[in-house]
């Protein structure tokens, strides 16, 4: 059953068409990847799902509900969590506090209960904490629990961002380049985690990734984008060997597209 569907979605910035009449659907329980050269519109798709951008036309539905009716902060309460390409953590807070913000959508206490720290606030805090500890355990973040984000190395921040997204207990997880900037070992860890997230937690994953090695290992299906439009869809092997994809990346005939893909890790 498809959990997330985009139908004929188009988005323009000024004169540039970032996403052009794109349709796709992500099934419940699968790991789905968006690949494509820089500027292909992958992150833009994420930002439309997060409702930071509003598409010009088209429909985005999540679990049968129209996402375009929702405000950005309501997307999280539907059960969609995400990470960002250029890590967006709360820098002046500890890892623990960052993960607890992830629990915000499960907040039940009111302002008055919190400011007086009534009994329910305390018991809710314990529950939030327990949920967060499970994520810390899962991603091996125990050593960093009380560390400030500001002083953490890049690789750890990347994991903390994943942890924060998991702390929301999502049904759909959007990962924007989960392996970019990670070492070989860290990428390996990321691979196992993504596998476990799907298998153990039953979370559907939609990710943008350039590392085709990772994509082919963890993904069930891949959609290749170029210039905002769908190029090819299928299993990782199918997409990798699709002539249009090879052309988009290597530009056997279209030289202008090579310029787009310059500096890209394929």
């Amino acid at each position: 059953m498809s959990l997330l569907t985009l139908e004929n979605v188009t988005l323009k910035f000024g004169g540039v068409t970032a996403v052009n009449n794109l349709s796709m659907s992500v099934n419940e329980g699968e790991v789905f990847a968006l690949v494509g050269p820089n500027g292909a519109g992958k992150s833009t798709v994420f930002n439309m799902i997060s409702r930071f951008y509003r598409p010009f036309n088209g429909k985005i539905t999540f679990d049968g509900q129209n996402l375009l009716d929702r405000r950005p902060n309501e997307v999280a309460s539907l059960g969609i969590a995400r990470t960002f390409q250029n890590i967006e953590l709360f820098d002046h807070a500890t890892v623990l506090q960052n993960l607890l913000v992830g629990r915000h959508r499960h907040r039940k206490t009111t302002l008055v209960e919190e400011i007086l720290f009534m009994g329910r606030t305390r018991s809710e805090e314990r529950k939030h904490r327990l949920a967060v500890e499970e994520v810390i355990e899962f991603l091996d973040l125990q050593a960093y629990r009380d560390k400030m984000i500001m002083g953490l190395p890049y690789g750890v921040r990347k994991v903390v961002e994943l942890a924060r997204a998991l702390a929301t207990k999502p049904r759909l997880l959007l990962l924007d380049e989960p392996a970019s900037g990670l070492s070989v070992e860290e990428t390996q860890d990321m691979r196992w985690w993504i596998d476990d997230i799907r298998r153990q937690m039953g979370i559907t994953v939609l990710m943008v990734e350039h590392d085709m090695g990772l994509v082919s290992k963890v993904c069930d299906r891949v959609l290749a984008l170029a210039d905002g439009a769908a190029l090819a869809e299928g299993t990782p092997t199918e997409v990798q060997s699709h002539p249009a994809v090879i052309e988009a990346y290597l530009g056997t005939s279209a030289i202008s597209k090579t310029a787009n893909a310059k500096g890209e890790r394929v």
Binding site: S43, N47, F52, F84, Q85, N86, E88
Partner: protein, 291 residues
Amino acid sequence: MEVMQLLLSGLANGCVYGLVALGFVLIYKATEAVNFAQGDFMMLGAFVMIGLVNPQYLGMNFWLAVPVALLIMAALGYLLDLTILRFMFGQSQTAVVILTIALGFVIRFVAGVIWGHEPQSLHSPLALGDVRAGGVVLSLADISVIVVTLLMTVLLWQFFQRTKLGLAMQAASQNQMAAYYMGIPVKRVQGAVWALAGVVACVAGILYASKGTLDISSGFIGIKAFAAAVIGGFGSLPGALMGGLIVGLIEPFAARYFPTGYSQIAPYALLILVLVFRPNGLFAQVRVKKV
């Protein structure tokens, strides 16, 4: 005729606001920082001029003193950048705002120590003489304010559009790191901007002091100039001038047609309305943070 008179005096005041607002916008355009001390810069520039020209101080010739004062203020602007603002490179915008507020406090204190707390007036040849045309009286100072302001706006605008330094300033503001990598000496460029802001403030100060008396709290007109810059849309030089004129024009008309007590709130009320309904100024530019 009365309307005409209000219009002209409003225009002249508005030009002073516009000039101070130009200073704000100049620094904002080039460093992305907001200088809350620009009004106090103006006050300081005016006092430097008084110190040079007035008989109880140095008693220099007015026209000789103008370039000297401009030079002093330019040097001061550059020095401020060298000693203080340069170390804010890479800090948040808010930190710079608070720093410049503090700078304003210090400038007021220093000016008070040197020139005292009594109002003073500049012995300016511009302060003498009126021009009468068809029942409307216009002082020489008012006319020179309008002319000089227009000239300054055009000059600065051309500077940003045409010259290499102007373009470097804009580039430096939009992405410090990238500009640095492209070989733009970001720090020196920013020093030049603060020097230029000092010059603009000094021009505004000389004109302001020619129109009336000056004391150390005159710098607070910077707040009105701020309103002007925001109304015009921060980041646009002609916008700053327009904003200044709007604020300048509102004041005399509000004073004439509104009950007392309500007139001085008019510019701020307008500022709040603009911020609420057109937060990017009347001449808007849209912005979205990219993730």
